[in-house]
Every structure is written in structure tokens, then in C-alpha cells.
């Protein structure tokens, strides 16, 4: 994007200025254009960053949902290597009642197992 701006700027420097076409205020017409494009690109960048953070947060949420145990397809896990237990109480409070707790298993992604 930076290159685009520079290219546009060079192109406009090469062109002859137009006398009769007056811009508002003290700015040259090409300057107005560059300002408009710069503002637009900044807005796009902000939108991009916001979107990226927002989406990442959403993915994390989805992971935690999976961890709690709503998974429909059971992963193949060998006995004894099922990962580690969750620590925070909120994570393993049972869905059925407030006063019961479950043993939550957090699967670690990269465990290679065989079916046997």
C-alpha cells in the first residue's frame, strides 16, 4: 500500500499543475486526493486489525467450548496419555448442578496414537 501511495505521488509530481482548477482552502487538488487515500488506508488498517483480534478471540472461545466436553466425535486417545486436568473450578463445574464437579480432560493436540 505504501508503494501505491509513492507511485501515485510520483505520477502526480510528474504532471503539470492545473492552474484554473482551485482546490478548497490552500491545498492542491492532488494533495486532497492523497489525503483522502491516506485516511482511507488508515481506516482499512484499523478495520483489519480490529477484525483480526475479534476473530482470534472467537476462535479461542470455540476451543474452550470444545474442551468442556461437548465434542461429538470422540478422539482416539490411548490410556493414560489423555492430557492434563484443568485447574480452574469454573471449567469443571458440572452442567447438571452447581455443586457437582467433573473431571475435565484437556486433550493435547499433537498426541500420536494408534487405534490399538
Amino acid at each position: 500500500m505504501q508503494a501505491l501511495q509513492v507511485a501515485a505521488l510520483c505520477l502526480l509530481m510528474a504532471l503539470e499543475p492545473v492552474n484554473c482548477q482551485q482546490a478548497r482552502g490552500n491545498l492542491q487538488p492532488w494533495m486532497q486526493g492523497v489525503i483522502a487515500v491516506a485516511v482511507f488506508l488508515v481506516l482499512v488498517a484499523i478495520a483489519f486489525v480490529v477484525n483480526k483480534f475479534w476473530c482470534q478471540e472467537k476462535e479461542e472461545n470455540m476451543e474452550s467450548v470444545v474442551t468442556i466436553g461437548d465434542k461429538k466425535e470422540e478422539d482416539v486417545v490411548s490410556n493414560g496419555t489423555e492430557g492434563r486436568y484443568s485447574i480452574t473450578a469454573a471449567d469443571f463445574r458440572s452442567k447438571e448442578t452447581q455443586h457437582a464437579y467433573e473431571n475435565i480432560i484437556e486433550y493435547e493436540g499433537k498426541v500420536i496414537t494408534t487405534l490399538m
Binding site: 492545473v18 492552474n19 484554473c20 482551485q22 486526493g33 482511507f40
Partner: protein, 672 residues
């Protein structure tokens, strides 16, 4: 137009004539070739070109069905009269066309619809919205598109050829009709691509000649403000005076953004009000959306939209600036101000700015190229007329006729669609005198003002239908009706009083007609939105099971959708089956005559060579053409439409869209 001298026939040399003939041969060849390539005897084949267009033709045909001779005459004319600002109409559409590709088309694709009223029917259920919208769309086609195209084409032909206008227009319409009736959309789309190149090429050549004549780009800006006609005094001072503002160029002629209160196109109106009209035109109108639905995949549609956006940058340089040059070169004719003079020059008293572009073509272009330009104008006129005829035939067949006769077979629908095109041609020819009488100074303002009074409720309903799940059928319907009434409250007085001219202002009271029409569009849009949302909140919502893949937030949903209109369809299906059973029963009882009458030969085999040719062209004859029932398409509907995109190409397309917006914003800033 009797006052126009008939000695202007300038297309009479061999070079011009051979160019025109060559051009027509080319177009007919492309049409025939594409006819052979696509299957046009099915609904999908005829109306949607087999859903197999790549991005180039999609973009080019979007541009070509948008640009008509109305643009050449209207943009150049308003450019001559009031400067650069009218190009804002085109440059606003750049952004809206991206809205179309990124927000609207994905939903239309997953909804699996062919026409826009059909979408609303699936979204809201009920039949009244669909019928209301079909009728209003047909009305808008006749008043803002067909009549304008015919008028501008007539102005051009009158300047170039000196023909009788009726003869010229009828000849043109006959050619266009043959071409549409026989070709189907596939031919239209391929020839659109050719025509777009012809349009751009010819207009570029003329732009070169015009700038050469006026002394370059700098010359335009130096001389425009001095382009004043020589006769500015009223011949009858006792009756009226001509104020200086009527013949002097506007001091803000070189600005796109003009004063919000005193400007002729105030900037808030140009940015916000126009976006509403453009949303209607580009995102909810059959002519445009149908082009997109024919795309091969969503990525192709998006790329086509970007291509169309880049092409839309051109009208400023190809039409508006040449129009301004025309005023510099021929101030006495283009900028005429004395009503009697204007009447003599172009047949109307309010002003002759509409002849700016034709005048330039007739006087500046050398022989041969002049023929090319005439071909360009014919191309633009034929292409946009044919697009409108095609789309309105789709609309009429699918939404109105199919409603009147639910049991109509597919073949009957195809025939009715073509007959309807013929009817529209007849209506259009009958409309020419009205258009001639109604020609006001500014053609483009006429189009946009009518659209401003009628379109905002439609834009509001589509916008809310796509993005707000809570909106339901009563809300949409009463929003449309209320919006129409508000729009008519402005439209009717304005037509009753007339818009007037600079010398003779209209007597319309300021309270009714004083608000700029684009400001009125904003007010009308907001009022319609309030009405739709208010009524919707007072009535029960539509459950999610009816809305899967019909609203933007549920476009990726894979759940099964229970169509709101499914009950009606089942009822029709049951009635059709009963009918068939009854007929079979009659046949079994041996009532031979009755059976013959019912089944009969579907269409009598035409006799003679010519008859057979015509039948083949209309795809009525021939054994290979199996015409499916309208219901057969259900198989296609059941496989979910795919709007997933390859991540790489999706990113490329997104970056291109940002680049296009950056270019557009630079130009907006440059000419602000």
C-alpha cells in the same frame, strides 16, 4: 421536432456506411455463436446463461447494461450545463457495486433465486410483496429506463442522420427485438462484451479529438468559464428577462462537492442520498443482479464487480469532460438561453444542453470514425434496451404471469416472455411523443428525481431484509406502501406544476418542491426504515427455520430451510396432479375429441422455409429441445449453492477491491 432542418444528414459517405454494416455483422455473428454454445431452451439457460460466466464478461456486461445512450446524452448535457459534479453519480456507484458483490450477491446465491421479488417472497412469505414489487419495477423500467434511452437515442439520431425520429427509433427497436427474442441472455452477455469495447474505444477517440480541439486538459479549465452564448438578451423584455445565472457557467463548475444549501448537487445529497438510489439500482434491481447471478462462482462475481468499478471511472473523462468541451466549442447552440433560439436549434425551449455529445460527434469526427460512433451509440442503445426487455420479461413471466396461471408449462412461459417483450416495444413506441414533449433541460436529473421518489422504500426493504432478521412480512409490506404514498406526495405535485426552467421557474410551492430530490431520498429512506422496523416489532417475528441462507448472518448455514412459500407450492402441486388425473380419466373413458383438444400438438409445426427458420430461432421447433417443467429445477435447488471461496483468490479479490477504492477516493479528493 418539425423545426429541425433536415439537411443534417452527415452519414452518407461509403466509409461511414461500411463501418456501420461491418459492426452489425460482427454483433450478429457473436450472437449466433453464443446461441449455438449455450442451452437456451431451459429456464436457467435462457435467463441465466447457464450460470457459467467468468469474471470478464460479468464485469463488462454489468457496465454495458448500466451505460446506455442516456449516459452519453445525459452526462455530457449536464456536464455542459453545470460542470463536473454530475460525474459523482458515476463515481458513487463504484462503492455500491462492491456492496453488491460482497454483501448482497452471496445471499442471493445461497437463496437460490432468479428474480428479486422471488427472493422477497422466500424471505417474507405471502404473495402481495412480490406482486407489488414486480408491478412497481415494471413501472420504473418504462419511466426511467426505456423512455430515457429512447429519448436520448432519438436526440442522437436526429443530430447525426436527420432522419425522421419515428422511423429511426422503430427501425432500431425492430433490430433490438429480433436480437433479444432470438438470442436469450447468453447472446446478450457475449455481445455486451464486444459492445463495451466498441463503446469505450469510440468514446476514447472522440475524447482525443475533443481535447485536441480545445487545447488540452488545461484548455478545458481555462476556457470553460468563458463559454457564454452570444445572444443573451430577451427578445421580448416586456414578457420576461433572462438573468445572468441562466447563461453563465457555475462558479463551482470544477468541484464535485458543492455547498449543502445553495449548490445544485449538494455534497451530503451526493454522498448519502445517492448511495440510497444506487443501492436500489445496483443491489436490488433485476437488470443488474441477474448479471451477477449468472457468474460461475462468487469469486468470479466479485472480480466482475471490481472490473465494472474500474470501468465506471471512465465516464468522467469520456462523457462529462467532452460535454463541457462541447459547450466551449459551440456556446451558441449548446448553451443557448433564449427560448426561441433553443426551439430552433433542438426543438425544445428549456435548453439544448442535451445535444452536447451528439453535436461533438457530428462536427469533430472524420468520416468513417463518425460511422464508428454511430455504431457505438446504436450498441449502447440496443444493449441497454435489450437488457431491460430481457429482465422485464423474466420479471413478468416468473412473477406476474406465473401467478395468474400457476399451471403454465415451461414452454408457455418462454413464449409469454417473448410476447411480453413485443408488448413492451409497442408501449415504448407509443411513449415516444410523451418523452419528446416531456424533455426538460436535464435528462439525468429527470431519471434521478423519479428514482428518488419511488426507489428508497424498495432499497430500505431489501437492506433490512438482508441484514435484520427481525423484520417480517407485515413490516415490509406496510413499509413499501407507506413509502410509496410519501413518494407520490412529492412526485405528483412536481409533475403537475412542472419543473420549470431557469428563465421560467416552476410555480410549485417551496414547501413541496423546495427540498433537493436527493435530500428527499434520504428522508424517505429513513421514514421507510422506521415504518418497517416499527411494524415488524409490533408483529411476531419469523422463526429461524424459515430464514436459513436468506439473511446475511445465516448465509453459511447448512440447516434445512422450511420455505415460507412451500405450502402454496404444495397446494398448486396437488391441484396440478388432480387435473392430470382427471384428464387421464377422461382419456380412459374414450372421449377422444376432448383428449385431442387438451393435449393437441403443442405448437403447430410451421409451414414453409421461413416459418421453420423463425420457429428454430425462437427455439419452438426441433426435437432435441427438451423443455423441463418449472418444478424440475428443484433438483438443482436441493444441492446447496456453494459460496465458499478459495482463500488465496478470495484474498486477491479483497486486495483488489481495496486498491479500487483507493483509486476512486484519490479521484474524489482530486476533483472535490
Amino acid at each position: 421536432m418539425e423545426g429541425v432542418p433536415q439537411s443534417r444528414a452527415v452519414i452518407n459517405n461509403p466509409a461511414d456506411i461500411s463501418v456501420i454494416v461491418g459492426y452489425f455483422v460482427l454483433v450478429i455473428c457473436v450472437g449466433l455463436w453464443s446461441m449455438c454454445r449455450t442451452n437456451r431452451s431451459t429456464i436457467g439457460g435462457y435467463f441465466l446463461a447457464g450460470r457459467n460466466m467468468v469474471w470478464g464478461p460479468v464485469g463488462a456486461s454489468l457496465f454495458a447494461s448500466n451505460i446506455g445512450s442516456g449516459h452519453f446524452v445525459g452526462l455530457a448535457g449536464t456536464g455542459a450545463a453545470s460542470g463536473l459534479a454530475v460525474a459523482g453519480f458515476e463515481w458513487n456507484a463504484l462503492f455500491v457495486v462492491l456492496l453488491l458483490g460482497w454483501l448482497f450477491v452471496p445471499v442471493y446465491l445461497t437463496a437460490g433465486v432468479i428474480t428479486m421479488p422471488q427472493y422477497l417472497k422466500k424471505r417474507f412469505g405471502g404473495r402481495r410483496i412480490r406482486i407489488y414489487l414486480s408491478i412497481l419495477s415494471l413501472f420504473l423500467y418504462i419511466f426511467t429506463k426505456i423512455s430515457v434511452d429512447m429519448f436520448s437515442g432519438a436526440v442522437f439520431i436526429q443530430q447525426a442522420l436527420g432522419w425522421n425520429i419515428y422511423v429511426a427509433v422503430i427501425a432500431l427497436l425492430v433490430i433490438t427485438t429480433i436480437y433479444t427474442v432470438t438470442g436469450g441472455l447468453a447472446a446478450l452477455m457475449y455481445t455486451d462484451t464486444v459492445q463495451t469495447f466498441v463503446i469505450i474505444g469510440g468514446a476514447f477517440v472522440l475524447m482525443g479529438f475533443a481535447f485536441h480541439e480545445v487545447g488540452g486538459y488545461q484548455g478545458l479549465f481555462d476556457k470553460y468559464l468563458e463559454a457564454i452564448p452570444s445572444k443573451t438578451l430577451s427578445p421580448a423584455p416586456a414578457l420576461y428577462n433572462i438573468s445572468a445565472t441562466c447563461y453563465q457557467p457555475r462558479p463551482d463548475a470544477f468541484h464535485l462537492l458543492r455547498d449543502p444549501l445553495t449548490g445544485d448537487l449538494p455534497w451530503p445529497a451526493l454522498i448519502f442520498g445517492l448511495t440510497i438510489i444506487s443501492t436500489w439500482y445496483w443491489c436490488s434491481d433485476q437488470v443488474i443482479v441477474q448479471r451477477c447471478l449468472a457468474g460461475r462462482s462468487l469469486t468470479h462475481v466479485k472480480a466482475g464487480c471490481i472490473l465494472c468499478g474500474y470501468l465506471k471511472l471512465l465516464p468522467m473523462f469520456l462523457m462529462v469532460m467532452p460535454g463541457m468541451i462541447s459547450r466551449i466549442l459551440y456556446p451558441d447552440e449548446v448553451a443557448c438561453v433564449v427560448p426561441e433560439d433553443c426551439k430552433r436549434i433542438c426543438g425544445t425551449e428549456v435548453g439544448c444542453s442535451n445535444i452536447a455529445y451528439p453535436k461533438l460527434v457530428v462536427t469533430l469526427m472524420p468520416a468513417g470514425l463518425r460511422g464508428l460512433m454511430l455504431a457505438v451509440m446504436l450498441a449502447a442503445l440496443m444493449s441497454s434496451l435489450a437488457s431491460i426487455f430481457n429482465s422485464s420479461s423474466t420479471l413478468f413471466t416468473m412473477d406476474i404471469y406465473n401467478r395468474l396461471r400457476p399451471r403454465a408449462r415451461s414452454k408457455e412461459l418462454l413464449i409469454v416472455g417473448r410476447v411480453w417483450i413485443l408488448c413492451m416495444v409497442a408501449i415504448s413506441i407509443a411513449w415516444i411523443p410523451v418523452v419528446q414533449a416531456a424533455q426538460s433541460g436535464q435528462l439525468f436529473d429527470y431519471i434521478q428525481s423519479i428514482a428518488s421518489y419511488l426507489a428508497p422504500p424498495i432499497a430500505a426493504v431489501f437492506f433490512l431484509a438482508l441484514f435484520v432478521k427481525r423484520v417480517n412480512e407485515p413490516g415490509a409490506f406496510w413499509g413499501l406502501v407507506g413509502g410509496l404514498l410519501m413518494g407520490l406526495a412529492r412526485l405528483l405535485p412536481e409533475f403537475a406544476y412542472g419543473t420549470g426552467s431557469c428563465t421560467f421557474p416552476s410555480a410549485c410551492p417551496r414547501l413541496v418542491c423546495g427540498v433537493h430530490y436527493l435530500y428527499f431520498a434520504i428522508i424517505l429512506f429513513l421514514a421507510s426504515v422506521a415504518l418497517v422496523v416499527g411494524v415488524s416489532l409490533c408483529t411476531p417475528p419469523i422463526p429461524d427455520k424459515h430464514l436459513h441462507r436468506l439473511v446475511f448472518s445465516l448465509r453459511h448455514s447448512k440447516e434445512e430451510r422450511v420455505d415460507l412459500d412451500v405450502e402454496e407450492e404444495e397446494k398448486e402441486e396437488r391441484r396440478r396432479r388432480q387435473e392430470m388425473r382427471r384428464q387421464q380419466g377422461v382419456a380412459a373413458n374414450g372421449a377422444v375429441e376432448h383428449v385431442l383438444e387438451v393435449e393437441g400438438p403443442p405448437v403447430g409445426q410451421p409451414q414453409g422455409c421461413v416459418g421453420r427458420c423463425v420457429a428454430w430461432l425462437c427455439s419452438l421447433g426441433g426435437a432435441a429441445q427438451q423443455v423441463p417443467e418449472p418444478g424440475v429445477d428443484k433438483e438443482a435447488e436441493e444441492t446447496l449453492p456453494d459460496i465458499t471461496e478459495q482463500p488465496t483468490w478470495s484474498r486477491v479479490v479483497n486486495l483488489n477491491a481495496i486498491a479500487m477504492m483507493a483509486v476512486a477516493l484519490f479521484l474524489w479528493g482530486y476533483y472535490a
